[in-house]
Structures are given as structure tokens and as C-alpha cells.
């Protein structure tokens, strides 16, 4: 049987070239006088993590979660709130000390986002189809309103994080250093995604997408597998949120807004749902498109909307087909 996640030699070479290009990118950018490319590339990588995590539920599991930005936002706020408590020198809820350590704050973001995903997933997965879409969207909106209401943490103005989290003796203020931190995390995350997708768990997930009833008839507890995937995906989004809070040194309820969930979905679809590297390319494509269009006109959404429509109506799986040989098949 052909294993969709076993890479051919050609694909491995392509991946090596991709990683080499990402390593070389900031130096090339500096050499050609475009230093702003490095922060942009950092943002691209963070979105690639968020989209990759969504792909676990959407592409591999076939669950149309429309509230994924909630976990991204929760992760961001975890970093922001922990930092805030360092600044004011007062423990959270009276007993959790704040932190500015990257190796504590970001894992905390992953865990808190995972806990929210577990809770929301446990409820939302009681349904499927259109109800699932609406419920994930509604719960995300509920968290959005929660953060708008938390005046203590900035309310709808958002929360400014004065310094990036500290990691060993690295100078995290330096965009180049931070880029490499994010790059290493991204590579690690995609390795993990690949391990998950190729594991027995990933196989069951794919089988559930294809025919849930048949999997249930085999005696597999479908609900548990779906919930586990939903939770892991939430943790991935929490990681991306924790990174973006460090990157932008700012979090706001906008991170949880439903349009952000829509954007993440677009990235996954654009790049190719159910392929390993699709979301990475989707994130690159969308953020580049947004950056180009917004540099050209303030009303970039006026163009993004129709582009999206045309892609969905006329170029089904167009981009994903292009990248299929790199992702090694998938769907």
C-alpha cells in the first residue's frame, strides 16, 4: 500500500531546499536591502503553525471548525496576561505568579488553549455538519466577548506586552534572532504534525473523515479520536498565539474574531486541506497576497473576497494539486 506520508527522495530534496531557503532568507533580505522581509517572514511562519494546526481537524479529520482563532487568541492572551502579572508584581488569581520566560509562558499558552479546546470540543463534537460549524463559531465569539469585557487586560483596546519573553541569553529584541527561534519551533511543529498524520491515530482520523459510520462499526470510539484531534489542534493554535504575542508584543480581541478563523480556513484550503505542507504554502500565499494588496490599496478585502470566490468556484484544489508532490499526496 502506498503510504501518503512517506516522502519520496524528490520530496525530501524539495523540503531540504525549502528549509535552506528559509534559513537563508533574512540574510538575502538584508543583502538586497529589504530588511522588513524578516519580520514578515516571521509572521508567515507563525500563521503556518496556526493553519497547520487547523488542518489537523479540517483537512485530516474533516471537521469544519470555524472557531479556530479562539485558541490562537487564548494562547496569545496567556502570554500577555502572564507578562502583565510580572509587570504589576501580583499573582494571577492570587496564586499563579506571572512569568516572562519563553519556556514557561509559551508552553502555558499551549496548555491553556488545549484546555479550552477540550472543553469546547467536548460540547461541539456532540453535533456534526452545519451545527458543528455554527457552534464552533459561536463559542469562539463567546470568548471574543469575554476578552472584550476583561477591562483589566485592556478590553477591546488590547494588551501591550512591553518586552518579548526571555529565552536563555538570546537577544529576543533582535528580529533576526526571533525569526530563527520561530523557524525552529515551526520546523519542530511540522515534524510533529507529520508524525501525527503518519501514526495510527492519523490513519483513524483520516478513516473517520472518509466514513465515520464504518469506523464506528469497527468498534473505534470516534468521539474520542475527534476530541483528541480537536484538542491537539487547539494546542497548536495556542502555540501560534503565544508566538504572535511575542512577535507583535501586543494581543487584542481581534485575534479571536471570527474573520480570523475565516482567514485560517482560507489558508488551509488555498494550500490544500489534508496535505502536510499545504497550510504552510496557504499561509504564505494569503499573507503575501494581503501584504501586496494592502500595500497597494487600503481596501484589499474588496479584492480578496472575489479572488477567494473565483478560486473556490473555478479552481477546485488548484493550488493543492500543485503542491501535492511535495506533500506526498494526502487527499
Amino acid at each position: 500500500m502506498h503510504d501518503p506520508f512517506k516522502f519520496s527522495g524528490k520530496a525530501l530534496i524539495a523540503i531540504a531546499i525549502l528549509i535552506a531557503a528559509l534559513v537563508a532568507l533574512p540574510f538575502i533580505a538584508k543583502a538586497v536591502g529589504l530588511p522588513a522581509t524578516t519580520p514578515l517572514a516571521t509572521r508567515l511562519l507563525i500563521y503556518a503553525i496556526a493553519a497547520g494546526s487547523l488542518n489537523l481537524v479540517l483537512g485530516f479529520g474533516g471537521m469544519i471548525s470555524f472557531g479556530h482563532a479562539a485558541f490562537y487568541g487564548v494562547g496569545g492572551y496567556t502570554v500577555g496576561i502572564l507578562f502583565q502579572h510580572v509587570r504589576i508584581g501580583e499573582p494571577l488569581f492570587g496564586f499563579i505568579p506571572g512569568t516572562e520566560q519563553f519556556l514557561i509562558a509559551v508552553p502555558a499558552a499551549i496548555l491553556v488553549a488545549g484546555a479550552f479546546a477540550l472543553l469546547i470540543g467536548a460540547l461541539a463534537l456532540r453535533t456534526s455538519g452545519v451545527q458543528f460549524i455554527m457552534i464552533t463559531l459561536a463559542f469562539a465569539q463567546m470568548l471574543f466577548f469575554l476578552f472584550v469585557a476583561l477591562k483589566r487586560y485592556g478590553g477591546d483596546d488590547g494588551l501591550i506586552i512591553r518586552r518579548r519573553n526571555a529565552l536563555f541569553d538570546l537577544n529576543m529584541r533582535d528580529d533576526l534572532t526571533f525569526y530563527f527561534v520561530v523557524l525552529i519551533v515551526t520546523i519542530g511543529f511540522y515534524l510533529l504534525l507529520w508524525r501525527i498524520a503518519a501514526s495510527r491515530f492519523g490513519m483513524v482520523l483520516g478513516a473517520i473523515r472518509q466514513n465515520e459510520r464504518r469506523v464506528a462499526a469497527l468498534g473505534i470510539a470516534v468521539y474520542r479520536y475527534k476530541l483528541a484531534a480537536f484538542t491537539i489542534a487547539g494546542m497548536g493554535a495556542g502555540l501560534a498565539g503565544g508566538l504572535v504575542a511575542n512577535y507583535a508584543r501586543f494581543v487584542s480581541p481581534d485575534m479571536l474574531h471570527w474573520t480570523k478563523s475565516g482567514e485560517l480556513m482560507v489558508m488551509v484550503i488555498l494550500g490544500g486541506a489534508g496535505t502536510l505542507l499545504g497550510p504552510l504554502f496557504g499561509a504564505f500565499a494569503l499573507v503575501t497576497l494581503e501584504t501586496l494588496l494592502s500595500g497597494w490599496t487600503e481596501r484589499w478585502q474588496l479584492f480578496l473576497g472575489p479572488i477567494l470566490l473565483l478560486i473556490i468556484l473555478y479552481f477546485r484544489g488548484g493550488l493543492s494539486g500543485l503542491f501535492k508532490f511535495i506533500g506526498g499526496g494526502g487527499k
Binding site: 470555524f66 460540547l123 456532540r126 469585557a149 478590553g155 471570527w258 486541506a273 481596501r299 470566490l309
Partner: protein
């Protein structure tokens, strides 16, 4: 206190009726055509803009209503013809993304044409003021009009679907579209009509909302997500569920917003923090309601079919 409570119940009923107008269209379109339409809120927005522009241009609210209805219906039919028609056989994901693209397009187009400043429309003079509906208690005539109009429309919709030949075809189309097609019914036309009807209802809600809210870009999404809650609570595809869900959600939301601040202010020292927190908690209230209903009945209170 009790009179204030009655007033807030009426306000909740008014919100519920507005939500019903949107939820009925949304759930009909999903129940019959199998389409999940995120752009439903955009039709509401188009109705609100067309209505308020017509009202300020002519000074007559009587002209604003047909203008809003016509704009929403024409927009709806155009969307159906150009986009939705191509999505019938696609999965929900494609529908969600395509209609998400439509939302972006509509929001930016409106802000391009009308500007980002919200529009404010006065309550029409004939419906302004308030009447005494209980001894010692007055209520806005305009809101009362919305309640009555909404209930009349609900009754009309029920009659249309349960008592007419068109309604019979709609119900049949929801159950088995291939059979209906095999019987020689033009199912494409039927779908177009259903979509137009949904757009018309959303447009009406938009026009009526004009004098109560500020008419602005993004107003469609705010209410769309509440409409989703209504549809989930009531049961997807069910008109009866949409009516019941809308009224429950409208009441819960309004009563929480009205009475939660007093409760929270008793618990927190800082009044401004208490107000913001209670506003946030009140916004979350309907989602908590939805979670409770889901735990109890995952298919909603009135599932369309078992």
C-alpha cells in the same frame, strides 16, 4: 421593578422577532437547499443601508421599507444566480468559504460606496413616541410595531409552508429533492424562490433595525452569529424551532443586559469595571444557553426531522 421587567420582556420579544426574520431565512435555505450561507447577514445589512438611504433621501419611512426589501431581494437573487447555484453539490466547507468571500466583498463595497461612518435614521414620525400598554407603563410604538409585524410574518410564513401548494413543494424539496424533480417540478426555480424569500425576510429585518441601531458595516455579522445560536437552539431546518429559539435567545440576551449589571455591581467595587464585565458576561449569555441546550438535546429543541 415588575413594570421594568415587563418592559424588558417586550424588548426581548422585539429582538426575538428580528432574530426570527433572519433565522427563518437561514434555516429554510439550509433545510431545503443544503446551503450554509454566511452572507445572510450581508443581506440584512443591504436592507438596512437601502432602507436608511431611502428614508433620508425621501423623508418617508413608507418608501424605505419597499426600498430595503427590493435591494435585499435583488441582491439575494443575484447571489443565488451567480454564486450559490454553483455550490449546491459542494460540501459545506466550499459553501462556508465562498460565502465568507461574499461577506468580505459586501463589507468593503458598502464602505466604498457609502463610507465607514455609521448612518443614523430617525424613527418614522407616525410610529414615534410611546403608548401606555399597562397602567403606569409605556412602551415604544415602533418596537411594538416590529413585534406585531414580525408575528404576522411568522403566521404568514407558517401558512405559506403548511397550507399552500408552494409550501408543499418546499417541504417536499427538503425531504427528497430528487423525487420532487422527478415529478416535474422546476427545482432550480423553487430554490431561487426560497433564497429570494430568505433574502426578503433578512432585508425586512434590516430596514426595521435601521432606526434602532446605527447602520454600519459589519452589522450583519454581529446578528448573523446570534442567528446561528437561534438556529442551533431551535433545531436546524425547523421554522417552528427558529421562532421558539429566536424568542428564547432574544429574551435571554435582553434580560441579561438589563439586569446583570445590577448584580455584578453588587459584587465588584469598581463600577466601570463592573459595567464592562457585566456587558461582556451578558454578551456571552446566549452562548452559555446554547451550550446548555446542546448538552441536553444535541439536535436542538425542535429538530426538523429525526
Amino acid at each position: 421593578m415588575s413594570l421594568l421587567f415587563v418592559e424588558q420582556v417586550l424588548n426581548g420579544l422585539q429582538l426575538g422577532v428580528m432574530l426570527f426574520l433572519l433565522a427563518a431565512g437561514l434555516t429554510l435555505i439550509f433545510g431545503i437547499m443544503g446551503i450554509i450561507n454566511l452572507a445572510h447577514g450581508s443581506l440584512y445589512m443591504v436592507g438596512a443601508y437601502a432602507g436608511s438611504i431611502a428614508a433620508s433621501a425621501t423623508g418617508s419611512f413608507l418608501l424605505a421599507v419597499p426600498a430595503g426589501l427590493a435591494a435585499a431581494a435583488v441582491t439575494g437573487l443575484a447571489i443565488e444566480y451567480l454564486v450559490i447555484r454553483k455550490l449546491y453539490d459542494r460540501d459545506h466547507l466550499d459553501q462556508v468559504l465562498a460565502t465568507y468571500g461574499l461577506v468580505l466583498l459586501f463589507n468593503e463595497s458598502i464602505s466604498l460606496i457609502v463610507g465607514r461612518q455609521p448612518l443614523f435614521v430617525g424613527v418614522p414620525p407616525a410610529l414615534s413616541g410611546s403608548i401606555e400598554i399597562l397602567p403606569g407603563m409605556t412602551f415604544s410604538v415602533y418596537r411594538l410595531t416590529i413585534i406585531v409585524a414580525g408575528l404576522v410574518i411568522a403566521a404568514g410564513l407558517y401558512a405559506l409552508i403548511q397550507r399552500t401548494r408552494l409550501g408543499m413543494l418546499i417541504r417536499a424539496g427538503a425531504t427528497n429533492r430528487d423525487m420532487v424533480r422527478a415529478l416535474g417540478v422546476d427545482i432550480k426555480l423553487l430554490y431561487t424562490l426560497v433564497f429570494g424569500l430568505g433574502a426578503l425576510l433578512a432585508g425586512f429585518a434590516g430596514v426595521m433595525a435601521g432606526p434602532l441601531l446605527s447602520v454600519q458595516v459589519g452589522m450583519g455579522e454581529q446578528i448573523l452569529i446570534m442567528t446561528f445560536v437561534v438556529v442551533v437552539v431551535g433545531g436546524v431546518g425547523s421554522i417552528r424551532g427558529a421562532l421558539f429559539g429566536a424568542i428564547v435567545v432574544g429574551l435571554v440576551d435582553t434580560l441579561l443586559r438589563a439586569f446583570l449589571p445590577q448584580l455584578v455591581r453588587g459584587l465588584l467595587a469598581d463600577p466601570s469595571e463592573a459595567d464592562q464585565l457585566s456587558a461582556g458576561l451578558a454578551s456571552m449569555g446566549v452562548y452559555v444557553l446554547m451550550a446548555i441546550v446542546l448538552l441536553w438535546r444535541p439536535q436542538g429543541l425542535f429538530p426538523a426531522r429525526s
